[in-house]
Every structure is written in structure tokens, then in C-alpha cells.
Symmetry: C2
Subunit: 207 residues, 2 copies
DNA sequence: GTCTATAAGGTGATAGAC
DNA sequence: GTCTATCACCTTATAGAC
């Protein structure tokens, strides 16, 4: 079902070179916009050589997507039902923001895929992702019922955390174009803002 | 500087047919992913005929982009300094959400463009968009200083409104894949959530 | 394992008849 | 204004020498 297993050290190394280059190219050009020429040039290998390690352009892309989705959901998996509710949710948002800072290419790869209708990853969304989200939404819902956080729609809360945090990776060009920072990072301000946003939203005693 | 002016009624009609079809195709495939064949088929015209009305594929795309950016910013322009601060900001968010509901293709067109580095619209972002955002951020900042809303970073507040609202258009496939609605709309829940989110964020008396 | 050469099909754009 | 035919280029993928 998966790609052939790498055997030698050089095979392993070259496969990683290709995936690293492909992440660069696919994340900024999308699947259709990327070319094997670009990936080959970026990886330092020849085009036929790239196709020696992966059977097709699509094989590289789907390999990237599937191995990334797992890591991408780690922050949500880490949301625990036995912690302090507001801390758990705020920390989740901050972990997601940290992912946008550290792995913007991965975020944009997913963004490209989803904006274009998720033709190659829809199954994963309606399966594993959906289940995980529903499980965590139930946890949040319990906190809400118990009065430990202000009443809130758990699914839309999760969507808002995704969108506000991934925005700093996916729309990075726009954010920087507006804030016009000469190299300085806006992530600290974003962090402060998001902490405030979700603390105020969830603190009990709101309407 | 712009395209040739349409003269006859049939020219006007065909140009609109093409732009409408192009919006469909570009918004789901991105610039590189879209083909003239698709646009021609979708518009009901032949491929050479499409190129009779627009000099190139790129001409269609840039025409779409520039005429859309203007409408896209209308909700922000409508934010007035002499209204009730919280109402103004919440209403702005709701207007943006309404745009996502009514014009998801336009939202995705921009999303595709920005995620891929905004190669054809960066000037507009660093120019008119930046100026408008800074002007409105100043208004919000004044409200904050006057104690009429809780202290908040105005730029990141605007970013969060963009991201949370456009998410329902740009990541529509994901949202529906998770909520799994059999045709029923989730926009009402989104509306309730966003109203809550920004009301709680901005109500004076928060930490 | 890596290369050059090339096949095979797609794609943007133009020519020229009507 | 619209069509058919077609060019020139790009892109994925394979063949086969080394």
C-alpha cells in the first residue's frame, strides 16, 4: 500500500532530499503549479533520478501529505480533559501558532490542498480528522456544561483556533505586507493577542 | 492601461461570461492549475474566442483580481469611528462572514493568490490595503485608549476577523467534512459564535 | 544509480477561412 | 465575431546506455 521501503543509506538520503525540495515547491505552487523540473533542481538531482525514487509526481505529493497530517494533529491530541480548561485551550492555540511559525511550508501545503477542494486528502478529513475533532469537541462541551468555561460552540471554537493561527503561515505575505516589518517578527504580538482572545472568550461569567 | 472598453452589447455579455467562468475555474484550481480549455468550456465559448476578448490567460486573471479587491474591502471601509465601538467591530465581522457565505469563490481566489505568495497582487496589498487597514486600526486604537473597548492590538484583531470569517469559505470542504451536514448550513452557528467571540474580547473590564 | 534522449500528451496562443 | 487547424512550448514519464 505504501512506497517501497528504502534500503541503503543513500536511498534514504535521496528520498529525504526529494521530499524536502518537494515541500518547498508544492507549498508555494500547489500540486498543479509545481513541476518536476523545479523539484529536481531544488533537490540537486536530475529529473529522471527523482522519478527513480518516486513513481510519479503525485506519489511525491501524497507521500508528503499523509506523513504531514499526522504531525499536524499532534497539538490537538495533546489537549487533555484533566487539565485546567482555559489553560488547555489557550495552550492548544499557542501550540498551533508555534507550528505556523516553525512549519509554515507544511501549513501552506495543506492550505493549498484544502482551498482547492482537498481532492487528494478528503478521506483523511472525513475519517481520522473528523473523529479526533469530535472527541475533543466533546471534552470542551463537558467543560462548558460543568460551568468551568463560558458556554461556547466547541466545533466553531476549534475552527477559530485553526484559522487564527494558521493565518500567520498561510497569509504570511499579506500580514507582512501590512505590518511592514523590516525583518522583525510579529509572532510575539500574535501570541499575546491570541492568549487574550481565548482567555476572554472562555472566562466564566460572560453573557 | 486597462483592457479595451467593451462597445457592443454582445461584447459586454461575452466578457462577463468569460469572467464568470474564469472565477469558477481560477478559484478552485489556482492560476497555474486553471486551463483555457476549462474556462472556454465553462463559458460556452471556444478557446480562440476567449482569447479574442482577452489577450491572454493572465489578462483574465488580473482583471478578475483587481476588480474584486475593491469589493472585498467594502466591509472594512464601512467601519465608522462614530458608531458604538463593539457594534461596529462585531458588525464588521458579520459582514465579512456574509461575504464568505455569498462569495466563496472570490474568497478562494484571493486565498489561492496569497498562499502562493501573492505574485500578482502584492503591490495592491502593500499599497491601498495597507493604508486602509492602518486607518481603521487607528480608529480601533482610539477606542481602546478611550476605554470604550478592552485593550487589544488592532492589527491582530483585524487579522483574526479576516481569518475566522474567510475560513468558512476557503476551508469550506474541511468544515463540511467535519460537521458533516447533509446540506444544512453551519453559517448560523458560525454567526452566533463570532458575535460571542468578539463581544467577549472587546467588552471593557477584561484583564 | 544516474545519465542523455525522447516519447506522448497537454497547453497557451496564433493564422486564416468564413 | 467565431470557427478549424495548427504551431511552439512545456511537462510528465519512460527507454536504454553507462
Amino acid at each position: 500500500m505504501s512506497e517501497k521501503q528504502p534500503r541503503t543509506r543513500i536511498q534514504q538520503k535521496n528520498r529525504e532530499l526529494i521530499l524536502e525540495a518537494a515541500l518547498d515547491v508544492f507549498s508555494t505552487e500547489g500540486f498543479r503549479g509545481a513541476t518536476l523540473d523545479q523539484i529536481a533542481a531544488q533537490s540537486g538531482l536530475s529529473k529522471p533520478n527523482v522519478l527513480y525514487y518516486f513513481s510519479s509526481k503525485e506519489a511525491i505529493y501524497t507521500q508528503l501529505l499523509s506523513q504531514l497530517l499526522d504531525t499536524w494533529l499532534d497539538p490537538l491530541r495533546a489537549l487533555e480533559s484533566d487539565g485546567d480548561p482555559i489553560d488547555e485551550i489557550v495552550d492548544y492555540a499557542l501550540r498551533k501558532l508555534e507550528m505556523s511559525r516553525e512549519f509554515p511550508r507544511e501549513s501552506r501545503l495543506f492550505a493549498n490542498e484544502i482551498v482547492q477542494g482537498a481532492p487528494r486528502i478528503l478521506d483523511q478529513i472525513e475519517g481520522p480528522l473528523r473523529d479526533l475533532v469530535n472527541a475533543k469537541a466533546a471534552v470542551i462541551s463537558d467543560w462548558s456544561s460543568a460551568g468551568r468555561i463560558a458556554p461556547v460552540d466547541p466545533h466553531h471554537l476549534i475552527f477559530s483556533i485553526w484559522s487564527t493561527t494558521q493565518h500567520y503561515a498561510d497569509f504570511d505575505v499579506q500580514v507582512r505586507g501590512i505590518l511592514n516589518p523590516e525583518g522583525e517578527s510579529h509572532f510575539n504580538d500574535a501570541q499575546t493577542f491570541l492568549k487574550l482572545l481565548y482567555t476572554r472568550l472562555l472566562s466564566p461569567g460572560a453573557p
